[in-house]
């Protein structure tokens, strides 16, 4: 064959960022106003792709939390709980519409502050966030149909604490069902990614929501703890690490606060030898490298049936040669920056652990990392065993372990042999095998011949140490009502 000498590199195609307006300093959004923190303290939030400071953000202390909860409680008693469902829906629809209108700006800020590729924030995070508001707006005046022959009532004030991996989307997951069911909200975004939540506060202000119905405050773990422990909070919704989830559960023992936890995961992605192999390889890539692997439901444990293991691994390596890691704002970037220095250190420590455990490591030679910022090469650990720490513990980065299996019983046992149970994937051409396997997986979500598919109409949540309660769909209303 005559080799062609035609090679190309994609020329830089950066998304413009001049239209994204980020203030130098953000205060706390309490009672419909941005107010100075009583703590008088601010902290920096940065762009993880170049370590530049984007803004100063207020740190809420106990007094600030108290002000926010009081505002939410007052808004609940005086106004929001008396409003009809149809009226609540109007506000929620309005938020959805404005998110759509400002989607480009929100996408750019999401990528600037969180490091995720613009391809994902533009095509996934922001549209899905808007869709969640649309979906729950539709339920607001139909709650008696959601729960036939029962009378659903709102709870009061919901304290909601969200993680840094999908900042705006997680805010939408939390706020939309709470408002639709007639609750008021105090939301705290993660300390490393507060900007889109604060943009959402501006949107909520523009939408003329009654003051205090949604309060958005920023801070660290102490702020979250003050929210959890506040006596006037009726409902806590937390998405984040299993360790913090356990602390919250202990803290509220003996109170009547309702709790939803969406915690860690270590999902099995199972490829049988009759699977559509090329599409499975694509699904493996999407399963683990989506959002740099900062996904609680990431398919981080790959199980391949031994007959196709060599083929799958060699195709996976070839596919990884074409992944572009780099500037999150470049439209051609597949994998952006790791969210924080701390997280990058954690991932690196697991890479060392894997190598020390004697596993074969693969990182593509074709993959070049930018010199500045927090980046990590997509990584495979081949020949892993159930007892390896990199198999047992959640890494929350672009790191995939690969194990082989022979029989379906073996793979079900191993897939379930983990403290987590959030999600799983199965790849086979045979429908009966899918149903057999999915009914035996102890996981909240099981995807068949696809991975990382989300929809507002579909419930999401875990088993075991991955948490409890469901978000999304009809089930997502349940944690916010009493009968």
């Amino acid at each position: 064959m005559t080799a062609s000498n035609f090679t190309w590199e994609y020329a830089p195609a950066p998304e413009a960022k001049d239209h994204a307006k980020i203030k130098k300093q953000y205060d706390l959004f309490i009672n419909g106003q941005f107010v100075k923190p009583q703590s008088k303290k601010y902290f920096e939030t940065i762009n993880p792709a170049n370590e530049e400071v984007l803004a100063q953000v207020a740190e809420a202390n106990e007094k600030d939390v108290n002000a926010a909860v009081t505002a939410a409680k007052t808004a609940y008693d005086k106004y929001w709980k008396k409003l009809s469902g149809a009226e609540r829906a109007k506000y929620i629809f309005r938020i959805a519409r404005v998110i759509q209108e400002r989607s480009r700006e929100l996408a750019v800020i999401e990528s600037l502050n969180g490091g995720k590729a613009i391809r994902e924030s533009r095509d996934f995070d922001i549209p899905t966030a808007a869709n969640h508001f649309f979906y729950y707006a539709g339920w607001a005046d139909k709650l008696e149909y959601a729960f036939p022959n029962r009378t659903p009532q709102s709870l009061g004030v919901a304290a909601q604490i969200i993680p840094w991996n999908f900042p705006l989307l997680m805010a939408a997951w939390k706020i939309a069902p709470a408002l639709a069911t007639g609750n008021t909200v105090v939301l705290k975004p993660a300390e490393s990614t507060p900007l889109t939540a604060l943009k959402l506060a501006e949107i909520i202000q523009d939408c003329d929501l009654p003051p205090g119905v949604v309060n958005i405050i920023t801070g660290f773990g102490n702020t979250g703890a003050a929210m959890v422990n506040h006596p006037q909070v009726n409902k806590i919704a937390f998405t984040g690490s299993t360790d913090v989830g356990k602390i919250i559960q202990k803290a509220i023992a003996g109170t009547d606060k309702k709790l939803t936890l969406e915690l860690g995961g270590k999902a099995a992605n199972i490829v049988f030898e009759d699977a559509p192999i090329n599409q499975a390889v694509e699904g493996i890539v999407n399963g683990i490298f989506f959002n740099q692997g900062h996904v609680c439901c990431a398919g981080s444990r790959l199980f391949v049936q031994e007959g196709v293991a060599d083929e799958v691994i060699s195709k996976l390596k070839a596919r990884m040669d074409t992944l572009i890691v780099g500037d999150p704002l470049d439209k051609n970037t597949d994998i952006g920056a790791i969210n924080s220095k701390e997280q990058l250190e954690k991932i690196k420590s697991y890479l060392k652990i894997g190598v020390n455990e004697g596993l074969e490591i693969f990182q593509s030679d074709a993959c070049a990392l930018p010199k500045k910022g927090f980046f990590c090469k997509p990584t495979l650990f081949i020949g892993a065993a159930q007892s390896n720490r990199v198999v047992q513990e959640e890494i929350f980065g672009p790191v995939l372990t690969i194990q082989t299996f022979r029989t379906i019983e073996e793979v079900i046992e191993k897939a379930n042999n983990i403290p987590y149970g959030l999600s799983a994937g199965v790849w086979t051409d045979k429908g009966s095998k899918i149903f057999n396997l999915t009914s035996k997986m102890r996981a909240g979500v099981v995807w068949a011949n696809t991975y990382n598919k989300f929809d507002p109409t579909s419930p999401f949540g875990g088993y075991k140490e991955s948490g409890f309660g469901r978000e999304g769909g009809l089930h997502g209303l349940m944690p916010y009502v009493k009968f």
Binding site: T7, A13, E282
Partner: protein, 296 residues
């Protein structure tokens, strides 16, 4: 080979992968070199009952001189005509390097006897065709008569002699991507030098999902044997933007070795003019009126 058992395809997965290719952004120098490559890999085609000698001659001139007022343009790869015009095309193209491809085997339906198909092919080769674009017997394929299809391709390959064989699957009649993969494997193992999507007479003609399935078949065969097979999507690719999307897919699926007219072709008639329009814009900074571009 047991062609009853070929790799399965997940249509949703294929469509998602295609959507990823289409979100790639090609700019600046990369764009210019890709547009030139796209022009250089076209099989400029006319396959109509109303073709005339004059039209063939004009098309051949266009193939050699796509737009002389723009500097640095390559020729197209080949012209594609019915067997009766092969001699004329060959003579007109002379030693320009532009190849002559001829459709054969009772194009486009393929409904004829093997003897006639072989003679059809030999006639084209004897008249100087460099490449033969045959059609498979879709009826036999859909019946499950895979050996018939295999043997027929092998027989035509023999009749081709030194001419390169492109096998048209007519994917618009195969109805599933599983069938597209199966037909691709049959054609490749039976001796095709190229596999090609469509005649252009049936809708849908070439689509990106179908082409991706065929590229994967080529890749799997290359991984197994080290033998390179070419690919030709044909019909329905009429814009420069669409062509660039195909090239992204080719690059990310098969890699740089396939990025020349030796191993990749577009079967198209109107694509060339849109490429010329875009290249002119890159050189002159403004869009031409289409009146400036010849429509041979």
């Amino acid at each position: 080979m047991d062609f009853k058992v070929t790799p399965v395809i997940d249509q949703v997965g294929i469509e998602e992968r295609v959507a990823r290719f289409n979100s790639r952004s090609i700019k600046k120098q990369t764009k210019v070199s890709c547009l030139k490559l796209a022009l250089n890999i076209i099989d400029l085609t006319t396959l109509e009952g109303k073709d005339t000698e004059g039209k063939i001659k004009q098309m051949c001139y266009k193939a050699m001189h796509p737009a002389d007022d723009i500097t640095g343009l390559p020729t197209v790869a080949a012209v594609c005509v019915y067997p009766t015009y092969v001699g004329l095309a060959k003579k007109t193209l002379g030693n320009s390097g532009v190849k002559v491809a001829s459709v054969s085997t009772a194009f486009p339906s393929g409904n004829s006897t093997r003897e006639i198909k072989i003679n059809d092919t030999k006639f084209a080769v004897d008249n100087g065709a460099d490449e033969i674009d045959m059609v498979i017997s879709r009826g036999e394929f859909l019946k499950g008569n895979y050996n018939f299809v295999f043997d027929e391709i092998a027989a035509i390959k023999q009749a081709c002699g030194a001419a390169r064989l492109k096998v048209i699957l007519e994917t618009g009649e195969l109805s599933t991507l599983d069938n597209v993969r199966k037909a691709s494997d049959i054609a490749i193992y039976a001796g095709a030098d190229f596999i090609k999507t469509s005649t252009g007479k049936i809708q849908p003609a070439a689509t990106m999902p179908v082409t991706l399935v065929m590229l994967e078949a080529i890749k799997d065969y290359y991984n197994k044997t080290g033998i390179t097979i070419g690919m030709k999507p044909a019909g329905g690719i009429s814009t420069a933007k669409g062509a660039l999307q195909y090239l992204v897919m080719l690059y990310e699926t098969l890699g740089p070795n396939w990025m020349s007219n030796e191993w990749f072709r577009f079967g198209a008639s109107s694509l060339a003019n849109d490429l010329i329009l875009q290249l002119a814009k890159e050189q002159k900074g403004v869009y031409y009126s289409k009146d400036y571009i010849s429509i041979d």
